[in-house]
Structures are given as C-alpha cells and as structure tokens.
C-alpha cells in the first residue's frame, strides 16, 4: 500500500515539475503586429465614420469607393492573419478534459464581422446612399466588434502586474 502511495506521489511530483517546466498554454501567444494593425485599421475606420456621419448619397459614392475597398481589405487581411496564427492544444491532460478551450481565437469572428458590415454599407451606399441613423448603427457595430477583438488580443499579453 505504501509502495502504491509512493508511486502516486512520485508521478504527481514528476507531472507538476514537467508541467511547470513546459508551461501550460490554453490560448495563442500575444502578437504585437496584429494589435498594431488592428489599432491602425480602427483609426482609419473611425475617421471614415466621422466623415460620413451625416449620411451619404449614392451620387458621390465613387469618391468613397477606394476607402471602402482599402478598409475591407485591411480587415480581411487581419482575419486571415488571425486564422493562420498557431493555436495551442492543452498540454495537461486534466485541463483538456475539464476546461472547454475555444477551438480558435474569439477575436477572428468580430474582425470578420467588421469587414462584412463595411461590405454591406458599401452596397447600400452604391445603390441608394446610407441614412444618418444607418451610419450610426454601422458605427456601433464597428465599435462593439473592435472592442471584442482588441480586448481579447490585449489580454493575450498575460500581464501579471
């Protein structure tokens, strides 16, 4: 019996030491370039929303077409980068079965949604212009989803201070 307990204690200690030396990862590494790109896209998109705050007319849509294309391209590229970033599998067996770890970074869907919303707004702008309250609603989508994505990406810094 004491031999059995000794073996359990031995394997427990070996397990803790091995895990401690390896470090447990349940989320991807922080990527400063992703955060910088997201911040830059956020600034450009905010400026665009300020410019069109009073609504748009489809008569002058061609003046905005390039801005839409550039912004959508930035968010599409960001989503691709987020999707291709390495995502860890839990290394500790008891964690894998007890903690429901997301299958991919939860910042991907918000970034895709921003690109989708800008694409939808572009279509309305081209077809009939965008009303002021519609611009406000699209802006709110952009703000909510940006906060979703940035909060998660910044949390990956794992600051302990």
């Amino acid at each position: 019996m004491s031999g059995y307990r000794g073996a359990i204690r031995f394997f427990l200690i070996v397990g803790i030491v091995a895990a401690g030396l390896a470090g447990c990862r349940l989320a991807p590494d922080y990527d400063d370039e992703i955060v910088q790109s997201l911040n830059a896209a956020t600034e450009d998109t905010s400026k665009f929303f300020v410019k069109i705050g009073n609504g748009t007319s489809n008569a002058d849509y061609p003046r905005r077409e390039d801005t839409y294309t550039t912004l959508i391209g930035k968010y599409d590229a960001l989503a691709l980068r987020l999707e291709t970033r390495a995502y860890p599998k839990p290394t500790l067996p008891f964690v894998g079965s007890r903690v429901p770890v997301p299958e991919q970074a939860p910042s991907i869907a918000p970034v895709k949604k921003i690109a989708e919303a800008l694409g939808q707004m572009k279509k309305f702008d081209q077809a009939r212009g965008v009303k002021p309250l519609e611009v406000a609603a699209f802006r709110k989508i952009f703000e909510i989803e940006t906060r979703n994505a940035l909060t998660y990406e910044n949390a990956l810094k794992r600051d302990s201070k």
């Binding site: 406000a136 989508i141 909510i144 989803e145 979703n148 302990s160």
Partner: protein, 112 residues
C-alpha cells in the same frame, strides 16, 4: 531531503492566485458592462430606425442578424478571457509547487 511544508505551500498558492483573480475579474467586469451597454444601445437604435423608417427595410435583416452575431461574439470573447485567466492561475500554482519541490529536494529544476 526536507519535508514539503503543505501549510506554507497552500498559503503561497493562495497568494499567487489572489492578485490574478482580482485583476482579471475586474477587467472582465469592466469589459462586460461596456459591451452590454453598447449592445443595448445598438438594439435601441435599430428599434427606433425600424419604427421610424430611418433604417430602410432592406437593412433590417442585416441589422437583426448582426445583433445576434455580436451577442454571440461577446460571449465567446468572455469565454476566451476566462480561459486566459485559468491558464495564468494554472501556471502560477504550478510555479509555486515546483519551487516548493525545489526547496524540499534541494535540486534546481528550472533554469532562470
């Protein structure tokens, strides 16, 4: 080989885990409050727009689907933040345990 002091180990684990929990829960709480306020503001905006015609009919399906999507994304991000906190807690606790084993065994296991 010295004996592991279980009482001290538990105190050290508690001291390592407490600041992580306090800080992370505070920031998760702040994030949640802000997002819930904005989701409510968006819902109100869409309701007004639909009722008054300030949001055209062709935009209704997109706005309603987006409200659903954003709520789902918010919950997924919350889940992600909690998982990051759990990861920090596991590593902090294991770190304390490894140090205790090092002290008791007199063997340095981690390279600084």
């Amino acid at each position: 080989m010295a004996e592991l002091n279980i009482g001290k180990l538990l105190t050290d684990i508690e001291n390592a885990a407490r600041p992580i929990l306090q800080r992370d829960l505070k920031s998760i709480n702040g994030f949640s409050e802000r997002q819930l306020r904005d989701l409510a503001a968006f819902a109100a905006m869409v309701a007004t727009g639909v009722a008054t015609g300030q949001i055209s009919k062709d935009a209704h399906p997109f706005m309603l689907q987006t409200l659903e999507d954003m709520t789902k994304h918010f919950v997924e991000v919350l889940h992600g933040l909690v998982v990051i906190t759990i990861e920090k807690l596991i590593n902090a606790i294991i770190d304390v345990a490894v140090k205790a084993i090092e002290t008791a065994s007199g063997v340095a296991l981690k390279v600084a």
